[in-house]
């Protein structure tokens, strides 16, 4: 758990204590009333709305109101229509949902949107567009480091995160950086080559 000061309040009255209190209520409800009743209760509370969040998404401030359980991946994809970030397993095992949170690669399916409150989030859309690809994106195309393309956004973001803090990574560091990104089509050798080429090109990847 990060320190409380790492999660500046977005100004909407959301506090850690509030979240913990909510969880406690949940536990009691679950123990006493059973799953079905709990589900009904949750649905009612959803209808009542959630808590406000404000993040800097790809350089622009984004605001929204989300219930506490909403993940960053859900907020990006469902509320803000940023579907470039994919969801492959919903438990941090495949890496398709990787985004940069304050420059660090994280699984957005395991990050609550409220934990991103007040912070900088960079998604695949923030790195570049088909019309103006970032160097690492271009390197992926050049090395044919993709097939079906579903793991690709996460893979690209992991590499971008690596290159931002380590502009000349060793082959081992590249393998390590994408160790949490599964690709079933088998594009890893292309990914290594792409990362290497982008590093050699020596452009700032931040």
């Amino acid at each position: 758990m990060a320190d409380e000061k790492d999660h500046p309040n977005g100004g909407g009255g959301f506090t850690r204590r509030g979240l913990i209190k909510g969880l406690a209520t949940t536990a009691v409800a679950s123990a006493t009333a059973g799953a079905a009743a709990l589900a009904e209760e949750r649905a009612k509370s959803d209808a009542g709305g959630g808590l406000p969040v404000s993040i800097t998404l790809n350089g622009a401030v984004k605001k929204g109101v989300f219930e506490p359980r909403t993940t960053l991946a859900e907020a990006l994809r469902d509320a803000w229509g940023m579907t470039g970030t994919k969801v492959g397993c919903e438990r941090g095992a495949c890496g398709a949902c990787t985004v940069l949170l304050d420059g660090l690669a994280v699984n957005s399916c395991l990050t609550l949107v409220h934990d991103a409150d007040g912070r900088q989030v960079t998604t695949i859309e923030g790195l570049g567009s088909p019309e103006a690809m970032s160097p690492i994106q271009k390197a992926f195309v050049d090395a044919d480091a993709l097939q079906c393309g579903f793991c690709t956004p996460g893979m690209v973001v992991s590499c971008a995160g690596l290159l931002a803090k380590d502009p000349h990574p060793t082959p081992h560091a590249v393998k390590e950086a994408v160790a949490g990104n599964l690709c079933r089509c088998g594009t890893y050798t292309g990914v290594f080559a792409a990362c290497d080429a982008a590093a050699k090109a020596g452009v700032n990847h931040g």
């Binding site: 799953a35 079905a36 589900a39 009904e40 949750r42 649905a43 959803d46 209808a47 359980r69 859900e74 994809r77 469902d78 579907t83 470039g84 970030t85 994919k86 492959g88 397993c89 919903e90 438990r91 095992a93 495949c94 398709a96 998604t123 695949i124 859309e125 790195l127 570049g128 088909p130 690809m133 994106q137 992926f140 195309v141 050049d142 044919d144 993709l146 097939q147 079906c148 393309g149 579903f150 793991c151 690709t152 956004p153 690209v156 590249v174 393998k175 390590e176 994408v178 160790a179 599964l182 690709c183 079933r184 089509c185 088998g186 594009t187 890893y188 050798t189 292309g190 990914v191 290594f192």
Partner: protein
């Protein structure tokens, strides 16, 4: 037989009546490019089909280039089915059975029904036969809301006895999965061939018998026989995008976006279920996040989505979660294989007796006997294949169905034979390989991997053992076998606009192979235009028919039709160009986007601006295959591994793969397919194992944490190579490459481990525990087979 003969005679009569057939006779050179000998054959060109490419004729195709779908995929712009979003859209979810076998006593969905915006589809099932089987589907305005509603549904089950392992299900008195005879369900991913009516005893369906020659006689005359048993585990496809389908009713039309390998197979299935004509179901599949054989139909999930959408009057997105994907959306069946070889002292295999059992859970199609019958051409082969039903999710086609399993069995037996006879494993294979193509591949691959180092490596391993070092190195090889299947009926449309825009349309889907690029390259080749200038439009059932992508059929089925369409379009433009240039049509040439005749030139746009109509439209059909080379696809692979004999950990260092892809269209894509097939093969060899708890009948690892698949750190150096081969058969010498590299990888890795350690792995995956067990380094205890 009598009837067949009559038909042949009729064909002869027809060919006499139609003089064009003789006029279309052309000579085709087939075989490997020099220095290997080729042969010339005479074929009769199908009407309207261009003559096949001659050796060295191609300028654009056959080369490497960037994929056209790259920029969209690396920037998140590509919209997958998971990404379908529309105002008012509902998210669907499915209540699934926690039991392996149970009757459904009651379903109370009243609480869920009262939740805001929830719609429910209850198919009224009475029995569930596997953990994860769908019981009821619902949809709600948010994904979280759908999950809440799921938890509010109360299902009461009466749990029944189950059987979940191959061994247990075969026993007499095992709980029966089906009471009645089961007919084989076929999908677009299967090998073509009639589904046989087979005997069914208990849970065992079969055996399905096939083969050639007199095996018993050959065994009696053999210098010796050798028998081994191999087993393989269930492999799950794990496409990164789970099975998903977005459904929306627009008037009486069902509009669908599907994560599928078959735009048209999904359309046809939905049209049948909802009793709609084919034009009333529109399926789009521009980007599919992997399939590997599991995504051909609409699936129960897709039908649920369409029904829920109808009920709600709103669009519905059904995307399976990872757990449901593992439990219910298909897998490569496990297998038990017994292979007995008869051989002569010089290493010639004279006969093979082969038996397989496998479980596809509640489905069929577990046979693994294809490889032994066709890979080497042993003179006498006897095959008996049986499906065993268990209370587990249905298996289905997966990248070269049955072949990695069969290859592992046969190539392990050959390795054992080489070791018994004291022969070099590659020499033994050459002794038994009649394929000219593969003999060339063995030679190329052996050079690339450095096979001649093998004796030195053996010596170094001995020295390492003597000095107490734990690392051993090994080289292994195995043959690949697949086939050139053609999905008939493919058609391509080329439309040229007055402003010079060229559109190419076919309904085929992109599942990762990047089919847009080879389509564009072929049109570019024929029309002399830059590849990137072409607008390739795919993934829509309103476009002309295209093949389902499975069994390596896409390129071979589609590319000849693309070429025919492009040639027809070019022919139509030539007349216009001749008028613009003021020269006879026969003098007009096109290259680099420029028409020319007798030194005069006109650019493509200028000629298009003079079109008689607003557009020129040309189509091309996939003509039937004509004469040419063997329809089998041959390949040879080599693996180099390092094994730590103290921990049992294997590191694959290098894989060399030499394959036949006819004349490749887009070499970059071919190489990527080979790399992918190899990585899935290594994953199969070393890691992938579905674990089922026999007592509860539940799958214990329906996820990607504990169902381990290969990752970045397990990736070796890969060298994909192609033989330069002209097989004939179609106008582009086109052949597929999706399956072949998957077939021999596990066997080559296993044989390399055998070389490194002296053990003979006979069970996949070859985990550290299994290696240590075979090395006698585990304390005595029962090890799971």
């Amino acid at each position: 037989m009598a009837e067949e003969k009559k038909t042949e005679k009729d064909k002869e009569k027809i060919s006499v009546k139609v003089p064009e057939a003789a006029a279309n006779a052309v000579t085709v050179e087939i075989g490997l490019a020099p220095p290997y000998p080729s042969k010339k054959i005479s074929i009769s060109l199908p009407p309207g089909d261009p003559a096949p490419y001659r050796v060295g004729e191609r300028l654009v195709t056959g080369r490497r280039r960037l994929r056209l779908d790259g920029p969209e995929k690396v920037t998140g712009r590509a919209v997958f089915t998971h990404d379908a979003r529309k105002a008012g859209m509902l998210h669907a979810a499915v209540v699934r059975s926690p039991h392996a076998h149970a009757t459904i006593v009651s379903i109370d969905a009243s609480r869920a029904e009262r939740m805001p915006g929830v719609v429910i589809e209850n198919p009224g099932k009475k029995v569930v036969r596997y953990h994860g089987e769908a019981v009821l589907a619902l949809a709600a305005p948010t994904r979280a809301g759908a999950e809440d509603a799921l938890r509010a549904v109360k299902v009461t089950y009466d749990v029944l006895p189950h059987t979940v392992s191959l061994a247990a299900a075969r026993k007499e008195g095992a709980p029966l999965v089906f009471q009645k005879q089961v007919e084989e369900k076929r999908s677009a991913g299967d090998e073509p061939g009639a589904a046989a009516v087979l005997p069914q005893t208990g849970n065992v369906r079969g055996p399905k018998r096939s083969g050639t020659g007199d095996v018993d006689k050959a065994f009696a005359e053999a210098d010796g026989t050798l028998e081994i048993v191999t087993t393989t585990s269930v492999q799950t496809h794990v496409p990164l995008e789970t099975h998903s389908l977005y459904a929306e009713w627009v008037g009486d039309t069902l509009e669908v976006q599907a994560s599928t390998q078959g735009t048209f197979s999904v359309r046809d299935e939905l049209a049948e279920v909802f009793k709609l004509s084919k034009d009333k179901v529109v399926v789009r599949a521009e980007f599919t996040g992997g399939g590997f054989g599991a995504k051909f139909g609409a699936g129960d999930y897709g039908v649920f989505a369409a029904k829920l959408a109808k009920k709600a009057g709103k669009p519905v997105l059904m995307a399976l979660d990872r757990k449901a994907e593992h439990l219910s959306a298909g897998n490569r069946p496990d297998s038990w294989n017994r292979v007995k070889l008869g051989y002569r002292k010089d290493g010639t295999v004279t006969a093979a007796d082969y038996e397989s059992f496998g479980t596809a859970g509640v489905a069929t199609g577990t046979g693994t006997g294809g490889f032994v019958k066709a890979a080497y051409g042993f003179p006498a082969v006897k095959v008996a294949e049986s499906d065993v039903f268990t209370h587990l999710g249905p298996g289905c086609a997966m990248r070269a169905p049955g072949h990695p399993q069969g290859c592992f069995a046969v190539e392990t037996a050959l390795e054992e034979l080489a070791s018994r006879l004291g022969m070099d494993p590659l020499a033994l294979r050459l002794k038994n390989d009649p394929s000219e193509v593969r003999r060339a591949e063995w030679e190329i691959g052996a050079r690339e991997i450095g096979w001649s180092r093998r004796p030195e490596i053996t010596k170094a391993n001995d020295a390492a053992a003597a000095s107490g070092s734990p690392l051993r190195r090994g080289l292994g090889c195995a043959a690949s076998l697949w086939y050139t299947f053609v999905a008939p009926g493919s058609q391509v449309l080329v439309r040229i606009h007055r402003d010079g825009t060229v559109e190419v349309e076919n309904g085929v889907q992109d599942i990762g192979g990047g089919v847009r690029t080879p389509i564009a390259m072929v049109v570019a080749e024929e029309m002399g235009l830059p590849v990137a200038s072409l607008r390739v439009k795919i993934g829509d059932s309103r476009y002309p028919f295209g093949p389902a992508s499975g069994g390596s059929v896409t390129i071979g089925s589609l590319i000849p039709a693309v070429r025919a369409a492009a040639v027809h379009a070019r022919e139509k433009l030539m007349g216009v160009a001749a008028k613009v240039l003021g020269e006879p049509e026969s003098e007009v040439r096109i290259a680099g986007g420029l028409f020319s005749a007798k030194g005069k030139t006109a650019d493509f746009r200028k000629v298009c601006s003079r079109l008689p109509g607003e557009t020129v439209v040309a189509t091309g059909d996939r003509a039937k295959d004509y004469d040419g080379a063997d329809t089998r696809l041959f390949g040879a692979q080599f693996a180099e591994v390092v094994v730590d004999v103290e921990t049992g950990v294997v590191a694959v260092k290098k894989v060399v793969a030499v394959h036949d892809c006819g004349q490749p269209v887009w070499k970059t894509g071919v190489e990527s397919q080979i790399r992918g097939g190899i990585l899935q093969g290594i994953s199969y060899a070393l890691f992938e194992e579905r674990v089922v708890d026999e007592r509860s009948g539940r799958v214990m690892n329906p996820d990607v944490e504990f169902y381990k698949i290969l990752g970045s750190k397990d990736t070796p150096e890969i060298v994909p190579l192609l033989v330069d081969f002209y097989p004939g058969k179609n106008n582009a010498h086109a052949r597929g490459i999706g399956e072949p590299a998957t077939v021999p990888t596990a066997a080559a890795v296993a044989n390399a481990i055998a070389h490194a350690t002296g053990i003979r792995p006979t069970a996949l995956p070859i985990t550290p525990a299994r290696i240590l067990d075979l090395l006698g380094k585990l304390p005595k205890r029962e090890v799971r087979a």
